[in-house]
Symmetry: C2
Subunit: 402 residues, 2 copies
C-alpha cells in the first residue's frame, strides 16, 4: 500500500510542475521524499531557507533555534504543511474577488472576500501547528515491526501567527443564522482534484464542532499582509486552538452541517488510534491541541555562568498558565517566567528562566500547565498517526556547558 | 543656509555609495530630495516598494492603506527615518560580536551582545513613530513667510513592532548599579563621523530621563528576526513610549549621565518651539508621544451599505483607553471597538466601527483617549519643527460612497 502510493505520487510529479497532482495527501507519502528534497519549492521560494528544514515540497519545518523570542513567527520562518498541491498562484492575485459558498444557513449564498470585508473584522493570534508536530519522538520509540508513517517533525511544525478577517458568526448572522440541526462547521479547500480520481479521497474538507462558531474567523491577512498562497490565501478558515489541518486553506465552501464530512481526510485520516490500526470515524478526530512547551534557547554549548533559558508554551484551547523548567532532565523543576505581551489564550507565550550553570552536561526540559490544570505528560502514549505529541521529555536539549 | 546644506549633501553623495556622508542630519535636507528619490536605497532594497512612499534615501513612509489590521507592522512595510548614513552592513554580519560601552555605572565596562544575552530577556511591543510624523498637516496650515522644514510625513512614519532584548535595568544592576547623580539615560549611535566635521554636530546621541530606566531595553530582535541594519541592528536602544529619534540605532554607548548630552541633535534639534524660532536646550525635548489615532480603512470610494471603518490608536506612555469615530468630520461621534490582543500600553490597538452608509460624501475621523484622560486635540498648535502632530481633524479621510 505504501509502495503503491509512493510510486503513484512520483508518476504524478513527472507530469511537470504545473500539474495538479494527488501525491502527498497521506503523510507517509511526504516521508518518502524527505531524503531527496532539500531546496524550497517554487511556491515558497520567498521563505528564509536558512531558517528551515525542507522535508519535501509540502513539508517544511522551522529550525528550533529560529523561532526567536518576539512571540509572533515571521512568515519567512513559518512552517508549511500542504496535503495536496496548492491551487495556481493566480488565485491570490485579486484576493478580493475570491468566492466562498456558504451552506447550511437560512439564506445560502456565495460571497466574495470584498463582501465578507463589509460584514465584520476580528484579529486573533493563534498557535498554528501541524497535527503531526513531534511525530519523530513517537517514531523514535517504535519497536519490532511497529510503524508510524509521516514526516518526522520535531518541534518546528509550529508557529504563532496573527490573523485578521471576518468572524464566521457575523457571516452566519448576515445569512439568517444557522440551519436546523447544525452540529459542525465544515470547510472545503480550493485545491483542484485531478480528473479520474475520487474527490472524496483527495479533497481537503474538515469538520469541527459547531461550538467553535464564535471562534472561527475567515482570514485574509496574516501578520499584517494578505495571506500568501503558501499559507492558504486568499482566504483561510482559522479555528483557534485547533491543529493545523482544521485551518482549511483557500477555503471555497463553508457549510454548517449535521454530520462530519465523509471525506477521507476527516473519515479515516487524522484520527487517534493505536499503532497498526486503521483510522475510522468512531475514533477521536485530531481537533483541539493539548498543552505543550519546548525549549528554544540555548541549543548548543554555552559558557558557564549566567544563562537565559527560553522557550515557548501554549495551552491549545486554554490559556497557558505556567511552565516549569528543569536543567536535570526533570529531576528538579523551577518556575519559568512569561515575558512580553499576552496575545490571548490561543497564542503561545515566551518564557525565560535565568540560571547559573557550572561546567558540565545538562538536560533542559520544560513542562507547561494550562488554565484548566492540564499538565504536559512526560511522554504520551503512542498513536498510529503520530499525532498531537506533547510529551516534555523527548524534546529535551542535551547541552554541554564549558 | 538651507541651500548651502543641500549643496553640501549632494557633494557628499557624489563621493559614491560607500562613502559616509553628513547629509540628511537635519530634516530640511531630506525634504530637498523628496521630489527626485523614488526608489528604495540599497540598505532597504528588501522592503516592499509597493507599500512605501520614498521621500528620500533616509525617509521612507508606509502608505496609509498598507498598515493592515494585524496590529504588528511587518518589517517590509515599516517606515525608515535615518538621520545620517547607516554604518556599513558588515556590522550586522555577526551581531553577537557588537560591542557596547556602559558608562555612568559603578563598574563601567564594554560588553558584547553575546554577553548581554546572558543578563536578561524581555519582549515589548511599541509604537515606533518618527517625531515628525504628521508634519505635512502643520505645513498645510502655514501662512505668509512661515516655514516648517522637514519631510512632509502624513500618517505613515509609524508602525507597531515587537522588540526583544535585555532590560537596561538588568545590565545596570550587573554593573553595580547607577553612578551618583544619574538623571538621564544617554545612548550613542554607531554611525561613523566623517573626518574634519565636528562630531557634536552629527552624532546621533540622545538623552532621556532616568525615569525610563525600567522601561528601556537593548534589543537585538525585531518581529522575530535579528534587527536589520535599516532598523538599527545589531542592537537598538528602545525607549517605549518615546518618539523614534530616542530609540538610538546601532547603539554603541549607553551612559547614565547627570546632564543631557550637548550633541546638536539633543541640544537644539527635536525641541518644541514656535515657528521661526531656533531650537534651544531650555525648550521641551521631543520625548514622550502624545495620544493619537487615525483611520486606515476605507480610504477610497466604497459601496453603500455596511462598511467597517478601521484604524489604529495609541497613547504614547499610557495605554489607549478609547476611540471615537465620526463619519461627518467630527460633528457626531460613535465609539469604536478595539479588536485583537492587547499588546500592552506602549503598543497601538486596532479599532473598528461598523456603519451603514448611504450614497454621499463623508469625512471619516477618529479621536483617541488615553488611560489618563488625555484626548487628541482637534488641531495642535504649530511648532517650528513640525513635531508630535496628533490632531484628529487633519488626517480626515474624505470619501465618496456610491
Amino acid at each position: 500500500m505504501i509502495a503503491t502510493s509512493t510510486i503513484g505520487r512520483r508518476t504524478f510529479l513527472a507530469g511537470g510542475a504545473g500539474a495538479v497532482v494527488a501525491g502527498g495527501l497521506l503523510e507517509f507519502r511526504s516521508e518518502a521524499r524527505a531524503q531527496d528534497a532539500t531546496s524550497l519549492p517554487d511556491y515558497a521560494k520567498w521563505k528564509d531557507a536558512d531558517a528551515l528544514i525542507v522535508h519535501s515540497d509540502k513539508t517544511i519545518e522551522t529550525k528550533r533555534g529560529e523561532i526567536g523570542t518576539s512571540i509572533i513567527t515571521p512568515k519567512e520562518k513559518l512552517y508549511i504543511r500542504n496535503n495536496v498541491n496548492a491551487p495556481p498562484a493566480a488565485i491570490v492575485a485579486n484576493p478580493e474577488d475570491w468566492q466562498v459558498e456558504f451552506k447550511g444557513v437560512r439564506e445560502p449564498k456565495t460571497l466574495t472576500v470584498a463582501e465578507l470585508k463589509t460584514m465584520g473584522l476580528a484579529t486573533v493570534a493563534t498557535v498554528l501547528q501541524c497535527s503531526g508536530n513531534g511525530r519523530k519522538y513517537f517514531q523514535d520509540r517504535l519497536t519490532g515491526d511497529q510503524k508510524i508513517s509521516g514526516t518526522p517533525w520535531t518541534v518546528g511544525a509550529a508557529g504563532c501567527v496573527l490573523w485578521s478577517g471576518v468572524p464566521l458568526r457575523a457571516v452566519v448572522d448576515t445569512l439568517g443564522g444557522a440551519g436546523d440541526g447544525a452540529k459542525f462547521v465544515t470547510g472545503t479547500g480550493g485545491e483542484e482534484i485531478p480528473a479520474g480520481l475520487d474527490p472524496k479521497d483527495l479533497v481537503v474538507e474538515r469538520s469541527v464542532p459547531i461550538s467553535n462558531l464564535d471562534n472561527v474567523i475567515l482570514a485574509w491577512e496574516m501578520n499584517g499582509k494578505p495571506i500568501s498562497l503558501a499559507h492558504g490565501g486568499p482566504l483561510r478558515m482559522i479555528v483557534p486552538g485547533y491543529s493545523g489541518i482544521n485551518n482549511v486553506k483557500y477555503v471555497k465552501t463553508v457549510a454548517l452541517t449535521e454530520v462530519e464530512t465523509d471525506a477521507k481526510i476527516q473519515r479515516s485520516s487524522y484520527r487517534m488510534h493505536a499503532v497498526g490500526e486503521k483510522g475510522a470515524p468512531e475514533q477521536p478526530s485530531i481537533w483541539e491541541q493539548p498543552v505543550k512547551s519546548w525549549i528554544t534557547a540555548p541549543l548548543e554549548g554555552a559558557k558557564s555562568g549566567r544563562i537565559q533559558i527560553a522557550g515557548v508554551a501554549f495551552g491549545g484551547m486554554n490559556a497557558v498558565a505556567g511552565v516549569d523548567v528543569s536543567t536535570d532532565g526533570g529531576q528538579t523543576w523551577q518556575k519559568g517566567e512569561f515575558i512580553g505581551p499576552d496575545l490571548g489564550r490561543f497564542a503561545w507565550k515566551v518564557f525565560v528562566l535565568p540560571v547559573e550553570l557550572a561546567p558540565g552536561t545538562y538536560s533542559l526540559v520544560s513542562r507547561a500547565t494550562d488554565s484548566e490544570g492540564n499538565v504536559q505528560p512526560e511522554e504520551p502514549e503512542l498513536n498510529g498517526g503520530g499525532y498531537s505529541h506533547n510529551g516534555w521529555r523527548a524534546p529535551a536539549v542535551e547541552i554541554n556547558i564549558v
